[in-house]
């Protein structure tokens, strides 16, 4: 840009970032009490961050046990009943204790107020409460696991779940409590976005991450109560034999599936939209380019949130639903692809003409793109009824949703972990190791799940403990991939933990991003900005020189 855009009377900006003269949030207070009772969104974010990593490792451990069991056609390490409980625990842990809270809880909490130029979320106490409610739900689920677990799968399908001898009700209570926590967080994000935007920060200047967190929060508010209600009814059926869903007493099991998927299909977007948000930030920051179309990315988040509610029946094509309804749901499901495609094309177009730097988050963007497009297209395939009849309840479905959910959420979680690492901890991680572990994660991932498409197509059912001999070589590949993936994740964690202690100091804005969280010091001071900044530009003005861009958001 020309000199003319540089105003003569720009306010002086501290090169160390806003608030650098104060102690940062990590060091402002150090007692245990100051952490446990903190109302600082950044500390609560760190608490979520640590917790979701623990649950990722626990869920991952269950997954490795499952995969190791499937190494041979008959018994390898655990018996059939344990296997059933193990896949339930794996699903429940990963879905409700990792994927749903991970990005909003850890990164949403941390950067959303920073991006809005706010001092904190609108309800700091509710924010802390939402962490403890989450922790409580985890405790309830863990005790349910110890008290006999559950062997229904994460979908809790009746009639089996209403008769299973395992701790289904208790697990249901845990998930219910977990939903309360996400509703609290969602409400907090919505209110914060409406009321605490800095002066001058209009809706169309906000970073795209906020749009996707906002869309996520809206889905959570509409969908999660339905899950809470349905699981409560299952628990009542299970404990007291009410017969709401139990056909022995005149209940309708297909009704349960309607209710369950009215939540759980949108829930996949509860997991994916935050991922989209991270990816949008990463793409713009590392190609040093504004998004090819800001509005296309922002509005397609809302579009996905909306149409995501019209498609739940595609999980029930072979459940005994009417042909007519199945037709409607099949057709409606296809619309989701439109909005996803808008996003993908806009991200790719954003790279055009940018000066791209290949740091670790950018590599994760590439993995994300591949897995999301591949997984999304298999989604369109399974939403085609005639194909779904063949693939339903086979490993093909397992591969589809792992590609998209794990591929999408995990890669973008890792992208975020690297991208915001300097902001959160003030240090730089080792870039070469980051790139290396990222490649390991990707190769491990592909080896784990690609064979499962073939297994499913060849007819291997999901949730089976043993299988005919001819499926073995693909299972061996998949198990090997799973171990590689696990190793890649551990190495990633090690790289970040090492950087925490020995990493080089990061400046306030190591990536040269224009998004507002990089205006503050790294790590930010306890109150983020001493006074509400006045925002005079959008979050993506890469045509302004950096000093000017920073001065346009004077955080005085």
């Amino acid at each position: 840009m020309s000199e003319a855009t540089i105003d003569a009377d720009l306010p002086a900006v501290d090169p160390r970032g806003a608030g650098a003269e104060e102690p940062d949030y990590l060091r402002a207070e150090t007692s245990v009490r100051s952490w446990l009772l903190t109302k600082d969104h950044k500390r609560i974010a760190i608490m979520f961050y640590a917790s979701v990593i623990v649950f990722l490792m626990l869920g991952g451990l269950f997954a490795l046990i499952l995969r190791t069991e499937l190494l041979t056609p008959e018994k390898t390490i655990i018996d059939a009943n344990t296997y059933n409980q193990m896949f339930t625990l794996h699903g429940v842990t990963m879905v409700w204790l990792f994927m749903i809270p991970a990005i909003p809880g850890a990164f949403g909490n941390f950067v959303l107020p920073l991006m809005l130029g706010a001092k904190d979320l609108a309800f700091p106490r509710i924010n802390l409460a939402s962490y403890y409610v989450y922790a409580l739900s985890a405790i309830i689920m863990l005790t349910a696991m110890l008290a006999g677990g559950a062997d229904t799968g994460w979908t809790f399908y009746v009639p089996y779940s209403s008769t299973s001898p395992t701790a289904v009700s208790w697990m249901g209570v845990g998930i219910f409590v977990n939903g309360v926590s996400s509703i609290m967080t969602a409400l907090n994000f919505i209110v914060t976005t409406h009321t605490l935007r800095a002066k001058g920060l209009s809706w169309h200047r906000m970073p795209l991450f906020i749009w996707s967190i906002y869309g996520t929060s809206v889905i959570i508010l509409f969908a999660t109560p339905v899950l809470g209600m349905s699981l409560t009814l299952v628990a009542l059926d299970h404990s007291f034999g009410l017969g709401i869903f139990d056909p022995r007493y005149g209940g309708d099991p297909v009704l349960f599936q309607h209710l369950f998927w009215f939540y759980s299909h949108p829930a996949v977007y509860i997991m994916m939209l935050p991922a989209f948000g991270v990816i949008s930030e990463v793409v713009c920051s590392f190609s040093h380019n504004p998004p090819a179309s800001y509005r296309a990315i922002a509005y397609s988040s809302l579009g996905i949130a909306f149409v995501g509610f019209f498609t739940w029946g595609h999980h029930m094509f072979v459940a005994g639903m009417s042909e007519f309804d199945a037709g409607i749901f099949g057709a409606l499901s296809m619309f989701v692809a439109i909005f996803s495609a808008i996003k993908v094309f806009t991200w790719v177009a954003t790279l055009r003409g940018g000066s791209i730097s290949f740091a670790t988050p950018m590599l994760y963007f590439l993995w994300f793109l591949f897995l999301f497009v591949f997984g999304g297209m298999t989604g369109v395939a399974v939403a085609t009824q005639s194909l779904d009849v063949h693939w339903h309840d086979t490993y093909f479905v397992v591969a589809h949703f792992h590609f998209i959910m794990v591929g999408g959420t995990l890669t973008s979680f890792l992208a975020a972990a690297h991208y915001w690492f300097p902001k959160m901890f003030g240090k730089l991680y080792d870039e070469r190791v980051g790139l290396l572990t990222s490649v390991a994660v990707f190769i491990g991932f592909v080896f784990t799940f690609l064979p499962q498409f073939l297994l499913g197509n060849a007819g291997m059912p999901r949730r089976y403990y043993s299988y005919p001999e001819q499926y073995q070589w693909l299972n061996v590949l998949s198990t090997g991939g799973a171990w590689l993936l696990g190793a890649g994740l551990l190495l990633t964690l090690a790289n970040l933990v090492i950087a925490l202690k020995w990493g080089r100091q990061a400046g306030p804005n190591p990536w040269g991003s224009r998004s507002f969280e990089w205006i503050t010091a790294s790590p930010p001071s306890k109150h983020n900005f001493e006074s509400t900044p006045l925002v005079e530009r959008s979050a993506y003005e890469y045509d302004l020189p950096e000093e000017v861009a920073r001065a346009r958001v004077p955080a005085r």
Partner: protein, 106 residues
């Protein structure tokens, strides 16, 4: 409507009408109307929830933007209920399923 205040007499009237509707739905359930029962019960509960929302939860005093949330929520419930109920209503496109409830222990 912006400043329509909820006064005590209004609360009492709202409460009485809730009671009234409760009796109506009880009465309707005894008439044996078959398939209509669900529709009538749902209709009555919609009216009752609107009373609760607008009077007891003071929605009448709110701006439109805040009411919009309630309207949207309502539309979502309509969506869930309508697409779900088209399923049992159109299941007859195939020979009727065996009804497990009629023969609980085969």
């Amino acid at each position: 409507m912006l400043h329509a205040h909820v006064t005590t007499p209004k609360l009492v009237i709202a409460w009485l009408s809730l009671l009234f509707f409760t009796f109506i739905s009880f009465g309707a359930s005894r008439l044996g109307l078959g398939g209509w029962e669900i529709g009538i019960a749902l209709g009555i509960s919609v009216v009752k929830s609107l009373i609760v929302l607008f009077i007891f939860m003071h929605l009448v005093e709110q701006r439109f933007a805040n009411r919009l949330i309630v309207i949207l929520t309502f539309l979502f419930i309509v969506l869930a209920v309508s697409l779900t109920s088209t399923d049992p209503l159109t299941r007859r496109t195939f020979p009727p399923r065996p009804d497990p409830a009629a023969h609980p222990y085969p």
